[in-house]
Amino acid sequence: MNHSTYVQLLDAACGAFLLAGVLVLWRRDLAAIVRLFALQGGALALLIAVLGVHEGDAEVVALALGIGALRALVLPWLLRRALAGGAANRETQPLVNVATSLTIAALLGLLAYAVSRPIVRLDPTPATHAVPIALTVVLIGLFVLVTRRRALSQIVGFLLMDNGITAVAFLTTSGVPLIVELGVSLDVLLAVLVLQVLTARMRAAFGDTDLDDLRELRD
């Protein structure tokens, strides 16, 4: 793979990664949000695979396959199962309306660019230049987590954050050590499983999973 193709593929994967993240903010339909998340998982796997092939590191390519399977197939499947159990399938009233969230996403993007300047400066390769994009996705995920009311949207927000962080890890240093990466993936999987069980319990206890109903515990 020559340098220009590498940069091309890397940037294309990053573009798709970011696009999927922004579209999650845009859509209200939870099923569409899950599809976008799966798409983003695919883009992340492509991104890692491109990095792995470029460095000729078979371990990273294998990790890309594993991460792709987890984030583009297994996690969306789990989310769809959680979705199938519930009646509500739309994010009806986010705390911040969609037009404003999109504008805020733009600001978050600028913030990410500002914050990641030192990272790019330390090692200006094509891969680190894409770190702001991954960081934008982290911030968008955090924003979704904070402003969305449906349980499923919050899980997706958490997973967007996680996708973004994984992307940062691979873009900066082709990933943290293998054992940590495995631990992280396992943790994410388990966290989603736990959240899925809790979603089912919440549905049993509250009727639906609008987190606005979670107002019993406060001071």
Partner: protein
Amino acid sequence: MTGIIGAVLQVVLVAAGAPLLVGLMRQVRARAEGRAGAGILQPWRDLRKLLRKEPITPHGTGPLFRMAPLLLAGTTLVVAAMIPLVTTRSPLDGAADLFAVTALLALGTVALALAGLDTGTAFGGMGASREMVVLALVEPTILLSTFAMSVRVGSTNLGAIVTSVLDDPQQVVFPASLLALVALVVVVIAEAGRIPVDNPSTHLELTMIHEAMVLEYAGPDLALVEWASAMRLTVLLGLLAGLFAPWGIAVDSPAMLPVGAAAIAAKVAVAGAALAAAEVFMAKLRMFRVPELLAGSFVLALFAVASSFFLVAP
């Protein structure tokens, strides 16, 4: 020489082809819905019918009302002559700045909105105010996304951007271009008044945007407005095709001009047919959701600019 012939060819092509494009899109939609359709030539027949009618204007309207269709058609024709459709060597290329193009298109829209207000009817004013909302949201996105394309080239001249894409076709899959493409598609749909922002074939005044402004026009004036609207759609689709898939466009030799004309006709026809096919599956958005759509495209355009600045160019 190539430039002058090419520019004339562009104007003729747009002027003659625009109603055909609308006819094609209606035909695609009709077929997709299981109807026979009126045929591709039907818009031309409609225009002929309207032109034969006696020109009348409502009471109390001023010169603005009569000037607006001319201004709309005139600005669109100028844009058609400027932008790189058949050739990049248009004699007006020096003025084919993306800012100039946007301003010209906006001028036509504003004229029509003023005409809608001039009639003093409720629907005219409503349509004008809605059109201004959409315009206000669309303009920044068009500017930003074309700007994203121009950062790499170092010029906001449309001909230069198209030439650079021709020289290095790979850059179309660059994230900046991809994001800008998505943003531009959305604003082109909004600007041309298509579903899901506006429904060109609606008969319900309350849901109208563009149609509400032109409700009071009749006869040749209406023909002019309809023709100009069709040309706007053609020009916008042509601009999209030129920026993102400029292959076949004539650069130097006059011999390439027929090829360029055929290529742009085919590209615009394909884009129009795809748009019409997509519209079959969509419903019009409620008016208050339109800003969401346009805000989304604005964000994408902004990210396009940002990534064209910050990512390493291949």
